[in-house]
């Protein structure tokens, strides 16, 4: 018989035994009775009386009850047999030590919950990708890298339609290629108006991603065509439920968006956001051009407004795709010979990368936070293991008694591990609450733009939590259990808890130091991010975005596309802004207001510029000179300081003398060592604009950018340049509570026909840039503080235990005349010693690992000495606090008590 079959047969017999135990018991009973009968009969034959014969037989047979145990052990499933018993023991043990159990559950709950929460976030950001996309790993975004003269290389994914159409026809590595863009649009008029986020996509976007409509259909090739597609719209299921109460009759009905009437043809499934994670309320064909980008949008090489995504054929690598797409693109290029797109290099990257082909900061940070959560769990585990070790020591007698009474060591370990596993599970349940609260917090506060469709705690999070709870529970209990059961029986019974702890306390010391070290690492991370955030906030932007409200009007779409009609509309709008400005300035609660063409952080314009006496304008790394047209009082409203000369006044209008204000960089670059006031700027084909003032540099787009030239002309004087996109800047007095609503109402009174009025803080345009640092500072800070608390608890428990263990010795010292200060000093020195060791190790680790997060920091060295010093001080202070309480208790030890005990 082969061993395998042997084993299987054995298993079968065991299983049969377990299932039909009653029958087996009966059978063995019968066998034994038969045996005893035969023996008794033999005895009788040897001349014994009937009673004697039976007694002798029974004596010879042996003790039946202990045999019972033997037999079970030989055949049964001991685990199953004793499971109920174990559980009863565990419940008793947990109820017996409520404080200890609560501490374990709390610590594990925090550790497991933090991990579950982070998993819930990362699951969507990194692992699963956008919802409803089939096989998202094979969907890529196409990027274009252009060589732009002195400015060097720039990579981006926003391209023109012509790049797409050429690539679609020539690239063979894609199963399909589609394009998308997005636009905010207004539904309704006046007070009822609301903004929706429109996804503008080519018809094949949906089949390429593999998404199916929840109702109706998506639009087809016959509705998305050049030069202008059909007015059809697909609603997002969420929006459909909100705006139409989920009425199935909306299909085929008309809907007005931005003044244009569409036919609703279908409903996209809930949470479908295309290839990005931000909310979309509706989808329209990309070939609808009400929002620009101009007449030759399908063929022009200078009109960049959409992004290309494609599904790779199986088995092609990203490198191959890039090189072959580059060849296809260059061969098909039909633009001007000096165009940078002629020599552009194409590449492809996964969807989680941002518009500049870099992994999004949020994504990278999330990955870090997962690591941080894992460290947090490690600290929690170390702490709980420590608590178990401490308790194992006080339970030495119980364990020794159990061993002496004949419990198997394996069984005992199982009991102890079962206890920690049960506590782990309860901790996991607590962790779910933490995951729910934490997940909601991170989603709402730190990643608000992502359209989260999954429940905060979904099945996957639940699974991860359950697994980590069980594994943690078992691991945490195993080591202490192994230690606890490795006892010399007699000495333990005799000595109780006093002796034999040296080895265990070494392990506990190591665990405590580990906790302190890991806390240092997390706190250093937190410190670096807080420092970054502080640097961000204390940055001089040349603007005060948090003090400025921007007001934008959504004008009805100009359906009549003739130049004449457009011109009329533009003048009408310009007049409206003048009237609106006057009205707003008269409103109570308004400190200042201005009108601007070209909002910082949102839009910009540039045009041809010359300066008399110079052949050309130097090119700065920050880019071409930007021009903004602003009304009077703009600089004071925006918070940009005037350094020389004057700002614009109410007298600077479209018809007055041509003047300009330049920024510091421009003044320094064009007229070094000279006063720029009264110099002349030749803007486009306009006559000389006289420089009247110099203002400080103001940020154009981002927190981190190279200095660039920027100049301002009076509002109205830009009309010849054809710039659009005006906004009202309002500086409210006070904190602006309820201000947006009042402002909106006031403007609607002025002209009920205007579309949606968007009022938002300029800061909101900047927030997405600050968010990564805020996310980092908040999360690292949160985890760091949690880690510190857990480490403090750990240290406290170690010191308390130490004090109990050394009560005898301390009693002797007190009896010999040691003062309170001596005892406290002794204990605190020990605690601080542990902390110092932890700080030293943690600092070394942090010094070596912090550089990995350097790219995520803002103008902060990963070895910032203040951060490191601060963390050290905090940790040492906490160590002193955690040691002082048990130390003080120790100093009050009654020497007689201590010496008499045991």
């Amino acid at each position: 018989m082969s061993p395998m079959i042997d084993w299987m047969r054995g298993l079968w017999i065991r299983l049969r035994y377990y299932l039909f135990r009653a029958r087996y018991d009966r059978e063995m009973e019968e066998e034994m009775r038969f045996h005893l009968d035969l023996r008794a009969a033999d005895n009788r034959q040897n001349g014994m009386s009937d009673v004697d014969a039976r007694d002798a037989a029974a004596r010879r047979f042996g003790n039946r009850t202990s045999l019972e145990e033997h037999r079970r052990a030989a055949v049964g499933f001991p685990t199953l047999d004793t499971l109920g018993q174990d559980l009863r023991y565990v419940v008793r043990a947990i109820r017996h030590a409520p404080g200890f159990s609560a501490m374990v559950v709390l610590t594990l709950g925090l550790g497991i919950g933090a991990n579950a929460a982070m998993f819930g976030i990362v699951d969507r950001l990194l692992l699963r990708g956008p919802a409803h996309v089939v096989d998202p790993d094979r969907v890529v975004r196409v990027y274009v890298t252009q060589q732009d003269g002195d400015l060097g290389e720039s990579t981006g994914s926003v391209v023109g339609f012509v790049t797409y159409s050429h690539l679609r026809d020539n690239a063979k590595d894609f199963e399909d290629l589609a394009v998308y863009a997005r636009t905010e649009a207004t539904v309704g008029r006046g007070a009822d108006a609301h903004r929706i986020m429109l996804g503008r996509v080519s018809w094949n976007f949906f089949p390429m991603l593999g998404v199916r409509p929840a109702l109706g259909r998506f639009f087809g090739a016959d509705e998305d065509h050049l030069p202008q597609g059909e007015n059809v719209i697909v609603l997002d299921e969420g929006y459909w439920k909100r705006a139409f109460a989920g009425d199935r009759g909306v299909l085929g009905r008309a809907m007005t968006v931005g003044g244009v009437t569409y036919t609703i043809v279908g409903i996209a499934p809930q949470g479908f956001t295309g290839v990005e994670l931000e909310r979309r309320d509706a989808w329209v064909p990309i070939s609808l051009t009400y929002w620009g980008p101009g007449a030759n949008w399908a063929t022009g090489w200078d009109i960049n407004w959409l992004q290309i995504v494609g599904r790779l054929k199986p088995g092609v690598s990203l490198e191959d795709v890039g090189s072959r797409a580059t060849i296809a693109h260059r061969r098909a290029f039909d633009g001007p010979a000096n165009h940078t797109m002629r020599t552009a290099t194409l590449s492809a990257a996964p969807l989680r990368f941002n518009a500049r082909a870099k992994e999004k900061t949020e994504t990278r940070l999330s990955r870090w936070l997962v690591a941080v959560a894992a460290i947090m769990l490690l600290i929690a585990c170390a702490n709980v293991a420590n608590l178990f070790l401490a308790r194992a020591t006080t339970r030495r007698r119980e364990v020794a008694v159990r061993l002496a009474l004949g419990i198997g060591r394996g069984r005992l370990i199982r009991l102890l591990v079962a206890e920690s596993a049960v506590l782990g599970l309860i901790g996991g349940a607590a962790g779910l609450a933490v995951a729910y609260a934490g997940g909601r917090f991170v989603r709402a506060v730190l990643l608000p733009n992502v359209a989260w469709i999954d429940a905060t705690v979904d099945l996957r999070v639940l699974g991860v939590t359950a697994v980590s709870a069980v594994v943690t529970g078992i691991l945490v209990g195993l080591a202490p259990a192994l230690q606890a059961t490795r006892l010399e029986l007699t000495s333990s019974l005799k000595s109780g808890i006093r002796e034999g702890g040296a080895q265990r306390s070494r392990l506990r010391t190591a665990l405590t130091i580990t906790q302190a070290a890991l806390s240092v690492v997390l706190l250093v991370g937190a410190g670096l991010f807080v420092r970054s955030l502080w640097n961000v906030y204390s940055l001089r932007l040349g603007l005060e975005p948090d003090r400025v409200m921007t007001v934008a009007f959504d004008w009805p779409t100009i359906v009549d596309r003739s130049d004449d009609a457009r011109q009329r509309e533009r003048f009408r709008q310009a007049d409206f802004y003048v009237a609106a400005l006057a009205r707003v300035r008269a409103m109570p609660g308004v400190e200042r207001a201005a009108v601007v063409v070209g909002t910082p952080f949102q839009s910009s314009n540039s045009t041809a510029l010359r300066v008399p006496g110079r052949d050309s304008i130097p090119t700065l790394p920050g880019g071409d000179p930007l021009i903004r047209a602003v009304s009077d009082d703009y600089f004071a409203t925006a918070g940009t300081r005037v350094l020389r000369g004057r700002a614009f006044t109410a007298a600077d209008v479209s018809t007055s003398a041509r003047v300009a204000v330049v920024n510091e960089t421009m003044a320094r670059t064009l007229w070094p060592n000279r006063d720029p006031v009264d110099e002349c700027l030749l803007i486009d084909t306009m006559p000389c604009a006289q420089v009247v003032g110099v203002v400080e540099d103001a940020r154009r787009f981002s927190l981190r950018e190279e200095a660039a030239m920027q100049y301002y002309i009076p509002l109205g004087q830009e009309r010849a340049l054809g710039f659009g996109g005006r906004k009202l800047f309002v500086r409210p007095s006070g904190n602006g509570e309820g201000f947006p609503d009042r402002l909106r109402a006031e403007l609607l009174r002025l002209d009920p026909g205007i579309g949606y009025v968007t009022v938002q803080s300029l800061q909101e345009s900047l927030d997405p840039q600050i968010r990564p640092w805020r996310l980092g500072a908040t999360m690292f800070g949160l985890f760091g503080v949690l880690a510190l608390i857990v480490a403090a608890i750990g240290l406290y428990s170690v010191i308390s235990y130490l004090v109990t263990q050394r009560a005898h010795e301390l009693g002797v010292r007190i009896a010999l005349g040691a003062q309170v200060g001596d005892i406290v000093g002794l204990v605190v020195r020990y605690g601080v010693g542990l902390a110092v060791a932890g700080v030293a190790i943690g600092t070394v680790i942090a010094l070596n690992t912090a550089r990995w997060i350097e790219p995520l920091l803002f103008e902060t060295s990963p070895r910032n000495p203040w951060v490191f010093a601060g963390v050290m001080v905090v940790l040492l202070v906490v160590a002193v606090l955690a040691s002082v309480i048990p130390a003080w208790r120790a100093s009050r030890t009654d020497p007689i008590e201590a010496l008499r005990a045991e």
């Binding site: 018989m1 042997d6 047969r9 054995g10 017999i13 065991r14 035994y17 059978e27 063995m28 019968e30 066998e31 034994m32 038969f34 045996h35 035969l38 023996r39 010879r60 047979f61 042996g62 003790n63 039946r64 045999l67 033997h70 037999r71 030989a74 055949v75």
Partner: protein, 112 residues
């Protein structure tokens, strides 16, 4: 009181070997196995009878023996055990091991 011949407790682990050896003679029920061992060892080896049955069950689980309920010549139901191929292999191995131990002990105990 008549002098009772001293009886050796079975060496731990030898019970299985003795049972297997016994079963090479014939299939038997538990009582017969116990008697057989005692008789052949001139009553020196006495099986603690109660432990015999758990041992038999353990050996069955391991596949060394198999059992069957049959009627005895006196028409009583009894469980008869038979050795299996795996049991013979196990017996051979244990016997070798036992010989080595006995030989070793013997060498130690021989007068120098």
């Amino acid at each position: 009181m008549p002098a009772v011949p001293s009886r050796a407790e079975l060496l731990p682990g030898t019970l299985a070997m003795l049972v297997l050896k016994t079963l090479t003679v014939d299939t038997m029920h538990g009582y017969a196995i116990a008697q057989h061992i005692e008789r052949l060892s001139n009553d020196v080896l006495r099986v603690q009878e109660g432990t015999l049955y758990p041992a038999l069950q353990m050996m069955e689980v391991k596949g060394w023996v198999k059992s069957e309920w049959k009627l005895t010549p006196t028409k009583r139901r009894a469980r008869y055990y038979a050795i299996t191929a795996a049991g013979r292999k196990q017996l051979a191995q244990e016997a070798r091991e036992f010989d080595r131990v006995v030989e070793a002990v013997g060498r130690v105990m021989q007068p120098a």
